[in-house]
């Protein structure tokens, strides 16, 4: 059983959703980013997406784009990402990398998979890689027992959702609104439908990324998903209030996923 399988089994027993938190490495500095990721685990985040900064992050809204650029401007390198994985994994929380494909491609994806494994990472979320382009990457993951996580979107057909369901390990990442990342005051109505469509195709847990920024919203999403993924709101918290603000927000979100609103 992988670390992610164990996490989701535990959450099911506890009758709650898992909380997955994202922060990019090197923003606002390497040390602060690792401190913030560690703090959010202490405050109740169950699994961490360690963000690999990239010059052209196509799926990101302004908040995460700016954080990536700042991290790169500050000199963040691929070695720092792997170092951060090691530090975060030491907390015991399942630690994944969220990374665009070219840096992995450039590093050599087999070598990178090995480095990720060695650092204690459990898998990778690849927002611009689809299963059709990834047979060799999947082999590399299988060989090292890493969990590859591909995304589904509201525009995905049931056939494609089935492919992702068969390919992924750990969970299925449902990017539940059409568009780039960013906090949203109102959560879209389509997320519930998308989760239902995923459940019809696979038994894997479903994590939802939809722009959650409050405990109340986390509770709402926890009502129909197995995991609530939060990124932009944590980045904003770190930017405006430092590590303490990340800790506070993580605690609020952790409370939210423990009070799922089912209707």
């Amino acid at each position: 059983m992988s670390q992610l399988d164990e996490l989701f089994a535990r959450c099911r027993t506890e009758g709650r959703a898992a909380l997955v938190g994202y922060l990019p490495v090197g923003f606002p500095s390497y040390d602060a980013s690792v401190e913030a990721m560690t703090a959010m685990v202490e405050a109740g985040v169950d699994a961490v997406e360690v963000g690999m900064p990239y010059s052209d992050p196509l799926m990101e809204g302004p908040v995460i784009q700016a954080a990536h650029q700042a991290a790169l401007d500050a000199g963040t390198r691929q070695a720092d990402v792997l170092r951060a994985v090691e530090a975060v994994a030491a907390t015991g929380a399942p630690t994944l990398v969220m990374g665009y494909w070219n840096p992995v491609h450039r590093y050599g994806f087999r070598r990178w998979a090995q480095a990720l494994k060695d650092a204690g990472g459990v898998g990778a979320i690849t927002p611009d890689l689809i299963p059709e382009e990834a047979p060799e990457w999947l082999e590399a993951c299988r060989a090292l027992d890493l969990d590859p996580v591909f995304l589904v979107a509201p525009s995905s057909t049931d056939e494609r959702i089935a492919v992702v369901g068969r390919t992924n390990r750990g969970f299925v990442y449902a990017a539940a609104v059409m568009g780039v990342t960013g906090a949203r005051a109102q959560l879209g109505a389509g997320a519930r439908d998308l989760v239902a469509r995923v459940r019809a195709q696979t038994d894997l847990p479903v994590g939802v990324g939809i722009g959650v920024s409050t405990g109340e919203q986390a509770a709402e999403v926890a009502g129909f998903a197995d995991a609530v993924v939060v990124g932009s709101a944590l980045v904003t918290a770190l930017q405006t209030g430092g590590v303490d603000a990340v800790r506070r927000l993580a605690a609020e979100l952790a409370e939210g996923v423990r009070s799922p609103v089912r209707n």
Binding site: D56, Q78, R106, I130, A153, S155, M178, G179
Partner: protein, 421 residues
């Protein structure tokens, strides 16, 4: 030659779809629409009608007799895409994609643009078809190509200056992709070059092939044989792929792609991924790419906004590896000299992008002569991809054609500084 790309959009090891899952359904829809349109006589007749009666095709092949001495004496024939409506080859692709947009029932079109030629062509087609049009353009490029910003706005398009990243074509493309992911249900993204995820490299090539089909026949009619070389500039590579493709199986015809050498390829400050880059993934496809050790996209340098792009179409990557086409970097200074030479010897003011091809053609002709060939036997077709009106300001500064006071007082400078909304 076997059909390329394969059914999943791969040109050998290149191409494919490296995109967010959210776009896959739209790419599938577009692929299906394009494949159906290729064999639909109604569609092809309508496109032919537009190309003839609206875009002004076929464009002529001009015998550039006075230019010949600059190419070691080789005969140079100009494929005059600069005479197509809107002033460049971009209209060919845009009219095709506008028809596809209509077929798919979409009403909103977005585009990225570098030099503004693709943006102008897209704004033009949108006006013609009654589509809502938004063009993303790097802020740096809106300054370099202020005239085209004004043209797009006159044509009814909304031009959004992009301030992220390097503020050039790469970042305009990022923003267009982000818009598309958000609005894909109602919006078609008219990519302007043979780049991006499948089916774009194939689709744009198919719409630009008309350049090479015409040029090949025109050369046969004029000279009685095929040319020895076909030369084109390469940014993303659409005018080059359009003219190269119908010659791929003519083994005697050398295909030469001229990339932006910037300050000189050896300085590292350039935009020549096929000449000095390495394979990587950008904007949805695997191809050659300018990148650093960590796979971050590298900064590019070129006097030409249209070539100032770190990536290149995946089919060019395949042609480079197979050796069927040869790619070379032409430095800014050499391109500008070629622009001047063409203007003074033929009375044709070409785009700075296009000037890279003339510089490359002169180099190729002289190299052949140096290798002992008789120049009088050589025929070179140069794709004159666009006209240079948009570049007069840059050229005037480069050559010092106006005084400092004149520059400060010129309308163009004022247009730069107080851009109209």
């Amino acid at each position: 030659m076997s059909e390329s790309p394969d059914s999943s959009g791969h040109f050998g090891a290149y191409g494919g779809r490296f995109v967010p899952e959210a776009l896959v359904a739209a790419l599938d829809e577009l692929t299906a629409a394009h494949l159906a349109a290729r064999t639909d006589p109604v569609f092809t007749a309508e496109l032919d009608r537009l190309l003839t009666t609206y875009a002004g095709r076929p464009t002529p092949l001009t015998d550039a007799r006075r230019l010949s001495e600059h190419a070691g004496g080789a005969r140079i024939l100009l494929k005059r895409e600069d005479l197509a409506h809107t002033g460049s080859h971009k209209i060919n692709n845009v009219l095709g994609q506008a028809l596809l947009t209509k077929q798919m029932g979409k009403q909103r079109v977005i585009a990225e643009t570098g030099a503004g030629q693709h943006g102008v062509a897209t704004a033009t087609a949108c006006a013609l078809f009654g589509f809502d049009c938004t063009v993303y353009m790097g802020e740096e490029d809106t300054r370099r190509q202020a005239l085209n910003v004004a043209r797009m706005r006159l044509l009814g398009a909304e031009v959004i200056p992009v301030t992220s990243g390097t503020r050039t074509l790469k970042d305009a493309t990022n923003e267009a992709m982000r818009d598309w992911v958000t609005n894909v249900e109602t919006t078609h993204y008219v990519i302007g070059s043979v780049v991006g995820p499948h089916p774009f490299p194939m689709l744009v090539r198919d719409f630009q092939r008309v350049i090479g089909v015409e040029a090949r026949q025109q050369c046969l009619d004029l000279v009685g044989r095929l040319p020895d070389a076909v030369v084109a500039c390469v940014g993303g590579g659409s005018n080059a792929m359009g003219i190269f493709h119908p010659f791929l199986e003519d083994a005697s015809v050398a295909l030469i792609g001229c990339e932006a050498g910037g300050d000189g390829v050896e300085t590292g400050r350039h935009a020549a991924p096929l000449t000095a880059g390495e394979p990587g993934v950008l904007h949805g496809a695997r191809s050659y790419l300018m990148q650093d050790e960590d796979g971050q996209t590298a900064e590019t340098t070129s006097i030409s906004a249209g070539l100032d792009y770190p990536g290149v179409g995946p089919e060019h990557a395949l042609l480079r590896d197979s050796g069927r086409a040869t790619y070379t970097g032409v430095a800014d200074a050499w391109a500008m000299q070629a622009l001047d030479t063409l203007a003074k010897s033929e009375g044709i003011l070409c785009a700075i992008e296009t000037a890279h091809a003339f510089a490359g053609a002169c180099d190729w002709g002289r190299a052949q002569v140096a290798a002992g060939k008789d120049a009088r036997d050589l025929v070179i077709v140069v794709n004159t991809s666009g006209r240079g009106d948009k570049d007069v300001d840059t050229a005037a500064r480069w050559f010092g054609l106006v005084t400092g006071e004149e520059v400060a007082e010129s309308d163009l400078v004022r247009a730069h500084e107080g851009e109209q909304p």
